[in-house]
């Protein structure tokens, strides 16, 4: 079983469109939407949700105003400015550390585990999709990503599915780390710009730290071919396998508007290019060592 995570560093480079195309091209796969705080994959994949589960995250302090004597102990100890001067906990600022709970002389503070979102299992034409919706302003997105990947692995193992494709979140923080740890390969989808270059370098360093082999795809390459060529050179010098470039093509947005994956919707230049990227990526990832049992 192989697991490929698609990341970008910079947002909006076309990660999800590429993932949706891969999910359509792979004959037998589990696809995971790990961009849990702005999930989009479900918008391009026809699916039927067959299972829903609440996702429990960290705890939240709540002060019972009837018991509270407003002694100020909690206010003084909270490091997150989460308690107002009229002794109401700001649920967004509360880190769930429990220090106020421990020190409240009246035991006026409850500390329950919170429902932070929902996890879904859906069926799609080429296999299951595991996705989620993180509640607004919720924490623990990294944990949710880990749970989704875990579930995808279990499904893949049970049903003998050879491939897991993960649509990763932007950035390099907690949920990104959670979506690439122990993956067999990451495909970095970038765009030929100063920002794209800057962010690609950072995301590549992260992949190196996590010891995950990296592949590169340059989207909208013709918008700045010069920059795209520099990126290819960077890939050569930094042990990144180049998986191909995709030209700017209005069909990409059109396919999104139609709620379909690009390869299903169009046979234009971008569609052909992404099929070539998929061919290269599958051959690269099958060359990697099996990391997990």
């Amino acid at each position: 079983m192989k697991e490929l995570t698609i990341i970008s560093g910079k947002g909006g480079t076309g990660k999800t469109s590429v993932t949706a195309a891969f999910a359509f091209l792979a004959a037998n796969r589990v696809v995971v939407d790990a961009d849990v705080d702005a999930a989009n994959l479900f918008l391009t994949l026809p699916h039927t949700t067959i299972q829903k589960e609440n996702f429990l995250g960290g705890r939240l302090a709540e002060i019972d105003p009837v018991i509270c004597t407003e002694c100020g102990e909690c206010l003084e100890r909270c490091q997150f400015d989460a308690i107002s001067t009229d002794f109401i906990v700001d649920a967004i600022a509360c880190e769930g550390c429990g220090v106020c709970v421990h020190y409240c002389p009246m035991d006026a503070i409850t500390f329950e585990q919170q429902t932070c979102g929902e996890r879904f299992l859906s069926t799609t034409p080429n296999g299951p999709m595991v996705h989620a919706k993180l509640g607004i302003a919720q924490e623990n997105s990294g944990m949710l990503v880990s749970q989704l990947r875990q579930q995808a692995r279990e499904i893949a193992k049970e049903n003998d599915i050879p491939m897991i494709i993960v649509d990763g979140p932007p950035g390099i923080g907690c949920p990104v780390i959670a979506s690439i740890t122990n993956a067999d390969g990451v495909l970095i989808v970038t765009e030929p710009s100063m920002s794209g270059m800057h962010d690609m370098e950072r995301v590549k360093r992260l992949a190196d730290q996590m010891r995950v082999p990296a592949f590169l795809c340059i989207n909208k390459a013709d918008l700045n071919q010069e920059k795209a060529d520099l990126m290819k050179e960077f890939a050569r010098e930094n042990n990144i396998k180049f998986a191909g470039e995709i030209p700017f093509d209005r069909e990409v947005t059109a396919s999104m508007n139609a709620g379909k994956s690009l390869v299903e919707f169009s046979q234009g230049p971008a569609s052909k290019a992404v099929q070539n990227v998929w061919k290269n990526v599958t051959s690269y990832i099958n060359d990697t060592m099996n990391r997990l049992i």
Partner: protein
């Protein structure tokens, strides 16, 4: 006044809008704060000079084993498994620590003191047009960005006009950037992805009680998804920026639209004054 530029979806043009708005109003005293600390990009466009850099750290516990009696009080209070006793030793896991200082407070022997762990850098500089930029750069491999975002925001002078370039998404980093803003300018692209993520951000802003308006970026003149949504929600659309290959090429080179394309300067100047008007009113309402 703090105006945060946000989007939900990544790559809709938050940074483009932030830096061009700032650059079209020289003399207005605008300061820019890039809170997308995972992937900061504003400096690429604003090109600040003579930058100063300082490491930003967060508190983590350090245990004096000579004083420790292995009472496990620290282990019990820690919600994050960042400190634990095992085989007559106290182990700490700094990357799990949320810096709540519970262990330090609870230790009966005063064996725990505050040490620090570097999260990233805070960088400040001013460009040739006199625009000051402050940004954070998260250390690669570091999971926790909100404390660094808070440190960047701590540099905001509330009396000046501050533009905050936020990270994408709607979870902790995005919320950390949006909290305590006087106004939010949402940059949205007219696609199903753009709409879906815009709606999530609007929900977050309602929770945070921050007034907002929308800029449509890469407007193709056809799709009305954002217009329809904005009308339903009663959110004003302040500007529409068209997609042109020329604009995309300027941005890809790390240049400012307002410097390269005269029409863009007009549009951004107009947007700046409308935005200031709205944000002033929004501030009053609050």
């Amino acid at each position: 006044m703090i105006v945060t530029i946000a989007s939900g979806k990544g790559g809709t043009g938050k940074t483009t809008v932030t830096v061009n708005l700032a650059a079209c109003a020289p003399g207005a005293g605008v300061q820019v704060f890039d809170c997308d600390v995972e992937e900061p990009n504003s400096h690429i466009f604003l090109k600040p000079e003579n930058c100063s850099k300082e490491p930003i750290s967060t508190m983590v516990p350090e245990v004096d084993m000579d004083k420790c009696t292995l009472c496990k009080a620290c282990e019990k209070i820690c919600q994050f498994s960042a400190i634990t006793t095992i085989a007559k030793k106290v182990m700490t896991f700094p990357e799990m620590c949320h810096s709540c200082r519970g262990c330090e407070m609870v230790c009966p022997e005063n064996a725990i003191t505050a040490s620090s762990r570097v999260l990233g850098d805070l960088i400040q500089g001013t460009n040739s047009a006199g625009i000051p930029l402050t940004w954070g750069e998260l250390r690669v491999g570091e999971a926790m960005s909100p404390p660094l975002i808070e440190k960047v925001k701590a540099r905001i002078n509330p009396k000046a006009i501050s533009f905050v370039d936020g990270p994408p998404g709607t979870s902790c980093p995005a919320v950390a950037a949006l909290r305590h803003s006087d106004f939010a300018l949402l940059v949205a692209e007219p696609t199903p992805f753009g709409l879906n993520d815009l709606a999530l951000t609007v929900e977050a802003l309602k929770k945070l009680d921050v007034p907002m308006a929308i800029v449509i970026n890469r407007d193709d003149g056809k799709s009305r998804v954002i217009d329809d949504y904005a009308a339903r929600e009663g959110i004003e659309i302040l500007a529409r920026l068209p997609f042109t290959r020329e604009a995309a090429a300027v941005c890809s080179k790390g240049l400012l639209l307002v410097d390269e394309i005269p029409e863009m300067r007009l549009r951004f100047t107009e947007l700046f004054s409308t935005l200031m008007e709205k944000a002033d009113k929004g501030g009053e309402r609050k």
